[in-house]
């Protein structure tokens, strides 16, 4: 499919999560990102697709990687950017979240990228504002661009995702990366195993079409890919496991475990990584690790999302 028909088939003005995307939608993003990556490798790093437009980055939760990535993605497409960061909840700032967002909207962005600690916060903006909304992570709900870049990275190394087995390891309960990955992987036909301490794996997550394992050692040999989720100490209330040492003992990826994986298996981690908890330095810097590829690919994925959302808005306007 060429770029134009890809963009005209994409109908979404907002990117709130992968739950609401079809397999075709997801593939359209991955293909668009691949095209941007190819162009960059040919030296065409700066494109003009969003020239004259403004993208607002609204980060109500601390973020370095995702915010930087979105910001650079917008610049690569020649958009201007507004950067807004507020740590903690909007209430502690005195102004409500919605009022803050409306203030930013008044500056005239065509799209806002939102990160917030509350599930559904971007959905609220998509209903209340007249701009495209990209979810850059809403609490423990979804983180669609992270999942898309994970899918992209796996596809880049291992081809079609259908039939591949992917293990998501760690704090499934509090992970928006896990939820978005599960939706995306299942829609593209991959088998998904979620693996972590029983306190951090909701039993009914099987309703999303995944298998549960409490033993990383048992699933290591059969997976094509492990995605090591960060332990979200900041989202947990109380102790979900007895100690970090015990967590690493059961679920940490180390050299020994790495050697028991298939030769061509991949190790992903959405980061920021806690070396020594989720994985050892040997693994992070080892041959199976594609952690830095993920970061690079995140840029083209976010360019693709901004581009497709902008095209959808333009098409909707043209048809109105």
């Amino acid at each position: 499919m060429d770029g134009d028909s890809r963009a005209s088939n994409w109908k979404h003005r907002h990117l709130l999560g992968l739950e609401s995307l079809s397999a075709e939608d997801i593939v359209a993003v991955l293909d668009q990102a691949a095209e941007f990556k190819r162009l960059a490798e040919q030296g065409e790093r700066k494109l003009t697709a969003l020239a004259g437009q403004t993208v607002a980055n609204l980060f109500f939760e601390p973020s370095t990687r995702t915010r930087t990535s979105f910001s650079l993605a917008a610049k690569r497409l020649s958009a201007d950017t507004i950067e807004f960061s507020a740590s903690g909840s909007s209430l502690s700032k005195g102004e409500t979240y919605l009022d803050t967002a409306r203030t930013i909207e008044a500056l005239g962005p065509s799209m806002v990228v939102v990160r917030h600690s509350s599930p559904g916060a971007p959905h609220m903006l998509s209903r209340q504002l007249d701009v495209g909304v990209l979810n850059a992570g809403d609490g423990t709900h979804e983180h669609p661009t992270q999942a898309l870049l994970d899918l992209f990275t796996i596809r880049e190394h291992r081809g079609d995702l259908a039939g591949k087995t992917v293990a998501l390891v760690g704090d499934i309960r509090h992970s928006r990366v896990a939820r978005s990955n599960i939706w995306g992987l299942r829609k593209l036909g991959a088998r998904v195993i979620v693996c972590g301490p029983a306190t951090l794996v909701p039993r009914n997550i099987t309703e999303m079409g995944v298998e549960i394992s409490y033993s990383l050692d048992r699933v290591l040999g059969e997976v094509d890919c492990v995605n090591l989720l960060r332990v979200q100490f900041e989202r947990q209330r109380g102790a979900f496991f007895p100690s970090i040492a015990e967590y690493a003992h059961l679920f940490g990826m180390n050299g020994d475990r790495q050697r028991r994986m298939k030769d061509d298996a991949l190790i992903l981690a959405p980061g920021p990584i806690n070396r020594g908890v989720e994985l050892t330095p040997e693994v992070a810097d080892g041959s199976k690790s594609v952690i830095l590829d993920q970061v690079t690919n995140g840029l083209v994925i976010r360019m693709a999302c901004l581009y497709l959302l902008d095209r959808a808005a333009a098409n909707a306007e043209a048809n109105a």
Binding site: E19, S89, S90, L91, T96, Y97, L98, H116, S117, S118, P119, G120, A121, H123, M124, D138, G139, T140, H141, E142, H174, R176, R179, P202, N204, I205, E207, M208, R237
Partner: protein, 429 residues
């Protein structure tokens, strides 16, 4: 002598086993009887053909927010909303600032109710000082100065020893203890029912077990003490089963259900609508079916509005930060009659029992009946009228409802308090 004849309606008065078409005669604010001839040539006549004429509804535990949170609701606006919903009596929650944990505060509620001049208002006193769950409030003095029951509102009394003493002491005062049965640690930080949908959405869950465990404790302590406990808003299948067994064993336990609990399910939160955030949380269809069965077979005694007004600036925020609760008084009757009666699950006398007779009995009030000599608190409803809920037209100061724009069947037409017409029909659209 002033007389009022409500003519030709279907008079439904479960307290007296009455369910027939007739003329209800009221004299000087008091019910005389059905089909008793009027003695006054100037009697006021109200035509009620095709309508249901029943004792006014009695709500247990509405939050009117005054004093302290008048931006959400006052006793004047809350009682106006009550009338619009067919409620002639409201027992109001003590969750105000200051808390109604002393006689003077109870009298303030009575006084504001009288000043408003809408429906009857009775205070519910706090069980514990400051509803902190630690020390008993002055229950006897509260009772002497008007408290019809004791409750810590939506705050569960976690300490079993405190709850035990509350049951014993309140019973000495002749009052029930109303309790919101939940184990606090199991619902801490929770936003919605724990289940598939909470997992998908990533919102912290409130497991049904949190209610089941506390209902079990409360029943055991009621049995131990002989005291009277009313579980205000139950929401789980297991709670219904435990209450059914406890009643069969003679334990003095009663229970209520919030009307919205019958109409919406936990999947409503998929929309991230803050007006679907209620406590107890919206449950699954399996739980709701058990609630309906419990209401139909008499296991559950009371339907309440669970009216929890919040000014828009408090509710229009992130879902996990927003307060629990929705306004209910103006929609409760229509939603209940449509779901339960039109839906074929209970008959009219049962619905009237749930909305009027039983809550009046729970609170020891001379309401909930059309017995000769009873105060003429009467509600007339058109069971077949369709109307569209318009939150902007609510008499309540707050509009936090998930039902805005819903078209419903069953409408409150006229309300009489002590024989005086309190025009209700103007508000709901």
């Amino acid at each position: 002598m002033s007389e009022l004849v409500i003519r030709g309606g279907r008079v439904v008065d479960p307290a007296n086993g009455v369910d027939r078409v007739g003329d209800l005669l009221v004299r000087d604010g008091v019910v005389v009887g059905v089909d008793v001839a009027t003695q006054s040539p100037n009697a006021q006549i109200v035509e009620a053909g095709g309508r249901i004429v029943c004792p006014g509804f009695v709500d247990v535990g509405s939050a009117f927010r005054e004093p302290g949170f008048e931006e959400d609701e006052t006793i004047a606006t809350g009682t106006a909303a009550a009338l619009a919903g067919g409620f002639t009596t409201v027992a109001v929650s003590p969750e105000t600032s200051p808390v109604v944990d002393n006689g003077a505060s109870a009298e303030f509620v009575l006084l504001q109710g009288e000043r408003a001049g809408n429906c009857r208002v009775h205070p519910i006193g706090a069980v514990t000082k400051g509803i902190a769950g630690e020390e008993l409030a002055e229950l006897a003095q509260l009772a002497d100065r008007g408290a019809v029951a004791f409750s810590d509102g939506k705050r569960p009394i976690a300490n079993a020893e405190v709850f035990r003493r509350a049951l014993e002491y309140a019973d000495m005062c002749g009052r029930p203890v109303l309790h919101h049965p939940q184990v606090p640690e199991l619902v801490a930080g929770g936003v919605m029912h724990e289940g598939v949908h909470s997992t998908l959405i990533g919102l912290r869950g409130m497991p049904a077990a949190a209610e089941d465990v506390m209902v079990g404790r409360d029943v055991a302590l009621a049995e131990l003490t002989g005291g009277r406990v009313h579980l205000t808003c139950v929401s789980t299948k297991n709670a219904v089963e435990q209450i059914r067994r406890a009643k069969a064993a003679g334990v003095r336990v009663t229970a209520g259900v919030a009307v919205h609990q019958l109409v919406l399910f936990d999947d409503s939160l998929q929309s991230f609508d803050v007006n679907c955030k209620v406590d107890p949380p919206l449950r699954t269809r399996e739980h709701v079916e058990a609630l309906v069965e419990g209401l139909a077979d008499g296991t559950l005694d009371v339907l309440c509005s669970d009216h929890r007004p919040h000014a828009s600036e408090k509710k229009d925020i992130e879902l996990d930060l927003a307060p629990f609760g929705i306004v209910g008084l103006e929609t409760a009757f229509a939603l209940a009659s449509q779901t339960l009666v039109t839906g074929g699950r209970v008959d009219w006398p049962t619905l009237v029992r749930l909305l009027s007779t039983n809550p009046a009995k729970l609170l020891g009030l001379p309401a909930g009946t059309l017995s000769p000599g009873a105060p003429a608190d009467v509600t007339i409803v058109d069971p077949n009228a369709e109307w569209t809920i318009d939150a902007s037209a609510f008499r309540s100061s707050s509009h936090n409802t998930p039902f805005d724009g819903w078209t419903v069947t069953g409408r409150v037409e006229r309300v009489f308090v002590g024989g005086k017409s309190k025009d209700a029909a103007t508000s709901n659209g």
